[in-house]
Every structure is written in structure tokens, then in C-alpha cells.
Amino acid sequence: MPDVEMKPADNKDDKKKKDEKKEEKKEKKEEPPKPPPTPVQEIKYNVVLIERAVATMEPRFAHRALRTLTALRRRLDDVVLRNAVNEVFVKDTPTKQSLLSWLPDAPPAPATEAMEVDSASAAAPAPKPPAGPEPVPEVDMYLRLLLMHYFEASPSTHTKAIDLAHQTVEKMQALNRRSMDPIAAKVWYALERAYELGSELAEARPLFLAAQRTASLRHDHETQASLINRLLRSYLQYSLYDQADKLVSKTTFPASAGNPQFARYHYYLGRIKVVQLNYSAAHANLQQAIRRAPAATLAPGFYQAVHKLFVVVELLMGDIPDRGLFRHPVLEKALTPYFDIVKAVRTGSLSQFQSTLARHAAHFEADRTFTLIVRLRQNVIKTGIRRLSLSYSRISLRDICVKLHLDSEEDAEYIVGKAIRDGVIDGRIVHEKGWMECGGQKGGYGPEVGEVFERRIGYCLELHNQSVKAMRYPLNAHRKELAAAEGAREREKELAKEIQDGDHDDEDIGGEF
């Protein structure tokens, strides 16, 4: 049952998370448009933003426009898109025609449509009327992006989305404008999504690889970040961990990429690392992914997916995840099978572990964590041995064998030997007597405490430095401050003069300040 409910969230996770995060920010920033505007209005507002972004060379305006994408996507339809195109492109140009050609003919408009074609052919010779309000190409791309998302929403039109995406990408690459980068990154995302819906993601890979090369040559960081994630996703989809690992080692993820891209990148890295048994690195990556991910309620799918992997990694590292994690409203249901596994590992009961594994096998396979969880078997045994070593000062191998449901005493001896060597327990085996003697517990203080402390401080310091770097200062803001200071001084002087003149009450002075 939880399976069925999980699925939709899982599929949505990726596309949702990135945009919704941005959206949330937007809502905090811009309080004015609280009553939701109509989609067309919103599109027009975004178009204005994009134009401003191009004019001022400030990509953050474009980012702001793109933040609304997710919310907008759900409200798109033929009419909205048609109206938007018509209102944005006042003049008829080939750009407008090509945009409109993707939309099915609207019922009431055939006559005007014909007229438009006529006037378009007249306007065609001058593709960019000098004084005309021909929107910048970025706007065209933005509208195309909306179109793609609209086509992807229903399975019947997704081939159309692929065609459109191809055309758009070609156009985009021909234009080669840096101000288009934020939109380009999204267009690539839409292209991937279109291919993924047709479950032919592998075919888009050469395209992504070529584009990735171009993007890195052009220092187009946004597109680079987006494309690296696209490629990783496509590799991991087909379990090509080797290739994914090579891609990661050969590319540098641009540091200026947005949080959502970073969150994904860390998630993919985490997945690669955990497969390669590099659990501590995977743990660090997943933690980053969680910290950078949007709020749980906004993008539950991603939040759940990351946490599933996170729980498994913690278990593989020999830690037990926090109990509170499993009570989180968003995670509670999704993590139920994992919670059962955690319980089994915690008690160190091999039989309970096996039965839980068998019960939830289908679920784990769907989450692609099955092979990882199978690896936990040895952790279960280790936990079991550790519990025994803590509670007994001397225990016979036979009893160990019985308590841990091991197959033979011989196995038990080897297993205990290995546990001692790996430092899981402190003890000795006395072979002649057939028992294990357990030493006292190790003191909890050593260099490793210092290391953990160091790591945490390092993290805090870096966080601080990053936030300082991320602060944005409005241009020429200090002038205003100077002016204000100047004014204050001015007032002070006046005040002093007035006081000197003696025609000023004390109350007024209080009021001035």
C-alpha cells in the first residue's frame, strides 16, 4: 500500500523541488501580488522581469521570473498560452508565428489567424523592426519553455515536447547569448523531462554531452550545472555508476550554481559514493543535499528520496538514525519499511532482519536501495556481537552461535575473530576453551572526538563565510547612507544653532531624534 502512495511523489520530486524552493523564496520577497494574478498576467509580469534582466545584465531578475515556473505550469492551457503569446508579441514576426504554430488552433480565432499570417509575411522581411517592441529572444525562449512544460503535462503530447525542445535548443545555441543562460538551464531540464517521459533518456545523452562541452567552453555555469545533473541522472537511471563516477571526476560542478542544483548534485553524488562503499563521503553528500533541499512540505518527493538513502547510509556506517526522523509528518509513511529495518539492525537480530527484508523487498527494489540493504547483514551481525560483548564478560562460541542464529560454531569463531580485528569489540578468543573473553569498554575520548569537533567547527565557519559571500548589496547604497549621514549632521547643526538661539523646547529635541 505505501508503495502506491509513494510513487507519484517520487516521480515528481525532482522537478518539483527545484522550482518550488525558488517559489517559496519569491513569496517571501514579493508580498504585493498576494491575490494570485491570472496566468496570462503572471506570464506578462515575468516577461517584463526577463526584459529587465537582459537590459540590466542582472540574472537575478530572470531567476525571479523562473521561480514561478512550477506554480504556473499547473495552470497552463491552450488559451492561456495563446493569449500570452499574442499579448507579449504585439507585432507579427516569424518568432510569433513559430510559437503559435505549436498550439492547436483556437476555435474563435481562425479568421484573425489568417489575417495574421498575411501581415506576418509582410513583416517578415524586416525581422527586427527598429523601434518596434519586439521582445528580446529570451522572452521567446521563456514562452517556449512554458510550451514545453505544457506539452509534458499530458502523455499524448510529449513527442511534441521533444520536437519543440530540439528546435528550441538549436535556436538557443545559435543565438549564444549569456543573458539567456538561466532560461537555457531550464530548457535543458525540460528537454530531459520530455525524454524521460518517453523513457528514452539514454538517447538524449549524446546531446547533453555535446551541450555540456559547449557550456563549459562558454563558462555558462548555470547550464553546466543543469547539464551535469541531467547527465548524472541519466547515468544513474541506467545504473551506469562507473560512467557517472568518471563524469564527476572529470567535471567541476560550478560553485555559483543555485541551491536546487546543488541539492540534486549532492544527492547523485551520495548515490554514487554509497554504491562504491564510501559511506562517510556519501553521508556528507546526502547531508548537504538535505540541507540544501527545499522545505519538506514543498518538495516531499525529494525530501523522502534523500532521507531513504540517508537512513540506509547511516545504518551502513554503523549508526542508528534518530528516532525523530521517522515521526516527521512527511517522512513517516514513506520511511515505514526503513524503520522496520532500523529496528532489526538495532536489536542485532538476524532473523528479524531477514524477515523484514523479505517483507519489504519489493518496496526496496522500487526505491533502488535493495542491494544496499542486503549489505546491512554484516552490520546486523556486528551489532549483535557488540551487544553480547557488552553484556557478558565471557561467553562460549556455542551460545553466540545460538543467540545470533549463525549456522555453525566454526562460523561464529571466524566472525568473532573478524569483529575483534575490525575493532567492533575488544576481546579475545580462547580457542582451547571455546569461548570469547570480552575486554573492558574503550574510553570514549580520543583523537576521534577532536576530529568530529574539528569537522563541525569547520562546517560552521564555512557556513558563515558562504553566507557573507552570498549577501547582496544594492548598487550605490552607500551613497544614500552618506546622504542620510550628511542630512543628520545638517540637522544637528541646525538644532545646535536653534538651541543656541534659545527658541527650542526640550520636547522638540526629543522629537527630532
Binding site: 545504473s239 551506469l240 571466524y414 575473530g417 573478524k418 575483534i420 580485528r421 576481546g427 583523537p447 558563515h464
Partner: protein
Amino acid sequence: MSLKSQYSELKAAFAAPDLPKCGRLLTQLKLGLIQAGLLFPQGELNPDDLVVAREILEIGAFWSIRTQDVPSFDRYFSQLQAFYTDYASLPPSPREYAIRGLHLIRLLTQNRIADFHTALESLPAAAVESPYIAHPVNLERWLMEGSYAKVWGARAEAPAAEYGYFVDSLMGTIRNEIASCEETAYESLPLKDAATLLFFTSQRELLVFAEQRGWEVNLTLGTITFAKKGEETMDIPKAKIIAASLLYARELEQIV
């Protein structure tokens, strides 16, 4: 076409089995494949040709194992991967899992566990059911748990004759693992028990092994004493702590 006749000759020689002849034929066939552009396939090619090329390479992989040439097996395997992953539309090869299983075992004998898991992860879930894959998977699990006796017992259960060629090196890996466990887990062991634990049948082998690992053997008492490793010296990492403190000081300075 000579390629075709060579191919059927190779099949015959492989079934015979005539290993030297196989080697000679494989060299010629590989040249032929390169000329036909089939050794490193790219783009659209005739599926039948690809299947033949794949089979030649598969035979080559088996042949390398039989002649105990592991680097050559690695080369064949990486060439085959192109066929297995990029041309998944070809009819599946009956030998694919056997070869992948051999590859897994090979990673295991070299203790490349991370690569082992990466390779395993890229297999479809159904593959684990195949005996060829299940064998190395079980071996790995037992090795990780420490159930060395089971690994020892599984020697005879190899699903294909080629697996046997890796057994010796696998046993070497296991013995070293066991020995390192014994060094820490026991203070001393009777010779006889040590021999059983390490799967040695004769005392002479054990003595040679003990000498390699530098164990103290007391023949009169019939025991092995393991040199106790010096108590862990708890050095305070001074340089590290100083460096860290300086870093904190500098960072704090920046903040305040």
C-alpha cells in the same frame, strides 16, 4: 569469407578444447573484427554481425581464464561491456552472466570490494537469481561477515569450470584475512587448530605460512604465539591541533 570459417574453426577448437589453436585463431579474428569495424562497435551495425563478434570475444574471455591470463580477461571484458550495455537490443547472450560472474570473482580475489559493488549494482535485479552471479555475491557476503568456512565450502559449488581458476587466489586472500584476524583475536593457538582454521592439510604448509607472517612457533609445546602488537601509542596530534587552533583564530578574527 575467411572470417566466417575462422569463426567456426574457433568454435570447434574451443569445444575440443585446443587452447593454443584458440589463441592463434583469436588473434586473427580480432584483426578481422577490427577491419570490419566490429571490435569497438559504433553506430548502427548489422545485429547478426554483432552477435558473432560478441561470441568471439566471449570465447576469448573464457580462453584467457583457461590459459590463466587475467589481464587478457580484463581486456576482453571491457570490450564485451560495449556489447552488453550499448547494444542491449541484441538477443541476450547465454554466456553474459557467466562472464560477468567471472569478472565479479576476479574483483573479489583482488579485494576490490568497491568495484565489486559498483559492477553488481549495474546489473539488473533479476541477474542475482542466475547461479553465475549468485555465487560471487554469496562469496562476498560470507567474506564480509567472516564466515570463511562457508567460502571454503563453496569451492566445489562453482557454477562453471572457469570459476575454479580463481579459487586458488581467492583462498590466498581468505588465508591472509583469517591470519590477520587470528593475530588480533588470539594470544596463542595449538598448531593443529591453527591448521584447521587456515584450511591447511599438512603441518609443513602451516609452518611455511607462519614463517611468512612472522609468527612464533613453539614446536615442543605445539603452539603458535602471536606477537602482541605494541600497545596503541596514543600520540597527541600536536601539529594538527595547533593548525586547527590557528585556523579558528584567523576565522574568528575575520568574523569579529
